[in-house]
């Protein structure tokens, strides 16, 4: 016998995670269709879509409910509204490389690596590095133990 889910709240949370990431993915797909009209960039547009679309969908897999708090879901919907205003295909290309990272930051996720692979680090709030902090050679920021945001993401919290 398959045990029942622990409660409606869990099921609602899972569904909402999938709904918001699917809305983001659908908007991203629509943005790509606009960008594809720049013939010289057709390949790059499709490379971006092939890379980022699975990563956007994979954000639903984060089981930290705080990543899908109402303000974070509202942030994704606001970002979706922003790219929905774009009518210039050249601007659409700019956003194809930006939107996934904006969504990932809002949902405290990562689209820096192929979906299903180990995270590359992503964009964290971090502390300022003006005093000499340096990102790693691979492009991922150095772990920042002082950042409350990092602390939230640690397994041992």
């Amino acid at each position: 016998m398959v045990p029942r889910p622990p409660g409606g709240r869990y099921a609602t949370g899972v569904n909402e995670r999938h709904r918001v990431t699917e809305r983001a993915a659908a908007s991203y797909r629509a943005l790509a269709e606009l960008a594809e009209s720049v013939e010289d960039e057709w390949q790059y547009v499709n490379d971006l879509v092939d890379a980022y679309l699975p990563s956007i969908r994979a954000l639903a897999g984060d089981d930290d409910e705080s990543s899908f708090a109402p303000d974070r879901i509202a942030a994704v919907d606001e970002a979706i509204a922003e790219i929905g205003l774009i009518s210039d295909p050249h601007k659409a290309i700019d956003w194809l490389s930006t939107f996934p990272h904006v969504v990932a930051l809002a949902l405290r996720g990562d689209v820096d690596s192929p979906a299903g692979s180990a995270p590359a680090g992503g964009v964290s709030v971090g502390t300022r590095t003006g005093a000499g902090g340096v990102a790693s050679e691979a492009g991922a920021p150095e772990p920042d133990d002082d950042s409350p945001f990092r602390l939230l993401l640690r397994d041992d919290r």
């Binding site: 960039e41 003006g130 000499g132 990092r150």
Partner: protein, 226 residues
Amino acid sequence: MRFQDAARDARAVVYAGIQADPLVARTAALLARATAAERLLARAVMNGERTDADVWHRIFPTLFGEGEGEGTGEDLRHHAELVLAASLEVANRGEAARSQYRGAVVEELTAQLLASRATSSAPVRRERRVLFDGVRAEIHPYDVTVESALRPEVYDCKWGARGINADVLNQLDDARTHAADEEIDVKVAIVVFDSRRSCELRLDRSTANREKTRLVALEALDELRV
């Protein structure tokens, strides 16, 4: 190998006016002290359609949220507000000028980050050509140079990954190979105010020789300090 100021054509004169706008230096200074998330905010706003600050507050709860555990703190939030305000100023310059301002900001940001390790014998300069004996000079200047006699550095700067193209990569690699012919080890790099992953997707399709050209993407701009 030697560096030389680029000749100024009409386009360069117009662009120089944008480079000299105090907004460019101010925005770059804020971004030089920014977190990666603030830099992503700046990229989004300067690419954005809407110029209402509250819209961007809602899109970036990680930077502006009030909830427990947002992790921003007052000083981080204050700095994020300054980055947002400067980015909105750039966005408000209008569609025609905006792209030139964005390019100028990335160049100035690169120069400011490099300046933190500049010395009198390795000054950071802008819009410079690199000349080699017996080699026809490139028409386009390099955006930023570190003019050390021992370890010169040459940088091209782009707002987005889409700006990466064969011409840029070939010009950088040509500088490196011509310098090597003179037994000078010049570091060449492309600085892109866009995500590493987007840049790598672009580079993966390029057939230009880029094995020794370094990529400095948005997440790792602070590497320029060392």
